[in-house]
């Protein structure tokens, strides 16, 4: 087992899958010679050549549209959109085709396509480089929306995404690309898509988060434990959609209280779906209103003020305390 950051572990996932399966091709802007602006595809071009690692022209719709054609033909394209903030150039292709060709062709075709894109804030980036818009994709039937929270689950989820027969949007929280390292086994490891994970057991409150928000959520939980003896159960969604709420329901039926955390804007965001599922299925177990700690419904600010918009452990702790006080 090697200690890896998430850039390395995602790279490993692609490399190992490509070795096994020549249907897999990588495509995107600067993914080849440059190895991707975050180096996630670093050196893959040296190993697999320009036929399998394609530096495409600068056209997102074309990357996804062409990849759909390739997928229908029988390849498994793994596309990089340089920043999730530019993935909106492709929604018409995703909504109209990637998500529907299985249905439209009544099963003859399917679209095994992975779209990787760095997402989220916290790296002092330019405009359009910090947003979290996973809701667009989570709300679109026929596609899966996955967000890892660290090197190890990132690698395992990416392998699963690549092997999935249907289109998967894979947002990589750029704030954790190099934030920490984890042991990542050389041998194959997968995590089934569509299954949130219980990452810490607890009894007083359930905390639900994903991606880069796992870090402040865990931090908040630690502090709550240490300073106030509050024991939080923590769930990492991993797959945002299709959302399997079973584990969340189970947890809240035990704790009676919950806080949901995401960077995405509050309104019509992922938190709303989670809270609603709890209302639908665990209403009588809820002892207090479920809280959400999220980005605001604003244009993402330039970096000098981005912290003001981003959930942090202080805001999360406050939310938990309020939940417990009532």
């Amino acid at each position: 087992m090697a200690k890896m950051n998430m850039v390395q572990s995602l790279n490993l996932a692609m490399q190992q899958e490509m070795e096994k399966d020549d249907r897999i091709v990588i495509m995107g802007e600067d993914v080849g010679v440059d190895g991707g602006v975050f180096r996630v595809t670093d050196k893959l071009i040296d190993k697999f050549g320009i036929e399998r690692v394609m530096d495409t022209p600068l056209a997102e719709s074309a990357i996804i549209g062409a990849a759909i054609g390739m997928a229908v033909y029988g390849l498994h394209p793994v596309c990089e959109i340089q920043f999730s903030g530019f993935s909106y150039y492709t929604i018409h292709q995703l909504e109209a085709h990637a998500s529907r060709l299985r249905h439209r062709s009544q099963g003859r075709f399917h679209v095994p396509l992975v779209i990787r894109a760095p997402s989220g804030g916290g790296v002092r980036a330019l405009e359009h480089h910090s947003e979290s818009r996973e809701t667009y994709y989570a709300h679109t039937p026929g596609i899966k929306m996955v967000i890892p929270s660290g090197p190890r689950n990132g690698r395992a989820l990416l392998v699963s995404a690549i092997r999935d027969p249907d289109p998967v949007i894979f947002f990589e929280p750029k704030a954790i690309y190099r934030a920490f390292r984890e042991e990542v086994p050389e041998e194959e490891e997968t995590i089934p898509l569509g299954k949130p994970q219980l990452v810490r057991e607890g009894k007083d409150v359930t905390m639900v988060a994903y991606g880069a928000m796992m870090a402040p959520t865990l931090e908040a939980a630690d502090e709550l434990q240490e300073k106030s003896g509050i024991s939080a159960e923590i769930i990492d969604l991993l797959t945002i959609s299709p959302l399997d709420d079973q584990i969340i329901a189970d947890s809240v039926q035990k704790t009676g209280r919950a806080v949901v955390v995401h960077e995405a804007p509050m309104s019509f965001g992922p938190g709303a779906e989670i809270i609603t599922r709890l209302v639908e299925k665990s209403f009588y177990y809820l002892e207090a209103p479920v809280k959400r700690v999220t980005g605001y419904d604003i244009v993402y600010p330039l970096y000098a003020r981005e912290k003001a918009n981003m959930p942090n452990s202080r805001r999360i702790i406050k939310a938990v305390q309020e939940t417990l006080e009532t």
């Binding site: 719709s61 549209g65 054609g69 085709h97 299985r102 009544q106 999935d164 399997d244 079973q246």
Partner: protein
């Protein structure tokens, strides 16, 4: 170091072989076997008659909105007739005849436009995408299929269809650019039928031709008389041969005319003159091809009559079976083919639907 003109690798050409009176340019006439010519003729005629029947079915409320192809039979058939079965075809939504030629059962069209998802089924072995309604979007899929063919080093090509209106969509240019960069075996067939619903070709773009749009990407582009099946065939043959031998993509602008409605929801009287339609009726692709075949001694009036009867029967049978199939609406079907495996949340939703249906049935049963 003056101001000078830059020489470009391509210019834009025009090709026509069989004129509207059925006169053929002997030098350019493609050498096609008689049976093949007759097969083309039969398909064109069937395309025309099926179109008429579909319009009829729609007017009777037996199917929903659909897009007639009348007038564009040569334009699409001439191109697709060049393909091998193993090649790929990516249609827009006005390629009924091209799809039929490639093997799509007529029944599927009726089911599809009758509102049944089953009509979208692409049978194993037919390498065609289902129709694509969002204008221009499918052109990129063809670029991707071309790239995949090249990756696999297969001796295939892919042909995609789109309209004059589609050339205004960014996806069209992105696809041409990708195909150019990767020198993918893609044949871009623009059926310029002069109208995008109510917008005439002249207002769609300032450019003199649509074929010249290929110049932006250093792709060979040719404009052909799209009502002349020989010209369309010849241009497509050249393009397919080039693509198959590694020569990269081609764009063909097939100049034709949408003689009927945009779709059955459209009323062309709002925006175009009967005179214009009349003028184009004289250029009908079928009648000129019939003159040609008669002069070649391959066809007689009697033969045409027999064929018409045969086609009518064929269509009637298909309508019968399709309507039979349409009697059975199992609503649960809407949950099929969403994902390879239905996730728990969708299983729950399907269960809800089943419960609702049962309730409904009970209400019906109880009167």
């Amino acid at each position: 170091m003056p101001r000078k003109e830059i020489e470009l690798p391509y210019s834009t050409e025009y090709l026509a072989i069989l004129d509207q009176n059925g006169v053929v340019d002997k030098e350019l006439e493609p050498d096609l076997p008689d049976e093949f010519l007759l097969k083309l003729h039969r398909a064109m005629l069937l395309g025309r008659r099926f179109d008429e029947r579909m319009l009829n079915l729609q007017r009777q409320g037996r199917i929903g909105t659909f897009a007639p192809i009348k007038g564009q039979e040569a334009s699409q058939l001439g191109a697709v007739a060049v393909l091998e079965p193993s090649d790929w075809m990516v249609p827009a939504f006005r390629e009924t005849l091209a799809e039929y030629w490639r093997g799509k059962p007529l029944e599927s069209f009726i089911l599809y436009y009758g509102g049944y998802d089953e009509g979208g089924l692409v049978e194993e072995g037919r390498n065609d995408l289902p129709i694509s309604i969002p204008v221009g979007s499918q052109i990129l899929h063809a670029a991707g299929i071309g790239m995949a063919i090249k990756y696999r080093k297969e001796p295939q090509v892919v042909m995609t269809f789109f309209g004059d209106g589609a050339t205004s969509e960014g996806d069209f240019h992105e696809a041409m650019n990708f195909a150019g960069v990767y020198q993918a075996p893609v044949i871009f067939v623009c059926q310029n039928n002069q109208w995008a619903i109510s917008l005439p070709r002249a207002k769609q773009t300032h450019s003199k031709t649509l074929a010249q749009k290929a110049l932006a990407h250093d792709i060979p582009g040719i404009q052909v008389d799209g009502n002349d099946i020989l010209a369309v065939y010849a241009a497509a043959k050249e393009a397919v041969d080039r693509a198959r031998s590694g020569g990269g993509p081609t764009m063909i602008e097939s100049v034709t005319y949408r003689m009927s409605l945009h779709t059955t929801a459209d009323d062309p009287k709002k925006y175009r003159s009967e005179d214009e339609v009349k003028k184009w009726e004289e250029k009908d692709p079928i009648s000129r091809f019939q003159i040609y075949l008669k002069e070649k001694g391959l066809l007689t009036d009697e033969g045409i009559n027999n064929l018409e009867a045969e086609i009518e029967n064929e269509i009637q049978e298909v309508v019968n079976t399709a309507e039979k199939r349409m009697e059975n609406v199992d609503p649960q079907h809407i949950f099929n083919h969403i994902f390879a495996d239905l996730p728990p949340s969708l299983i729950q939703q399907r269960e809800e639907l089943i419960r609702n249906l049962a309730l409904e049935q009970k209400e019906v049963d109880n009167g």
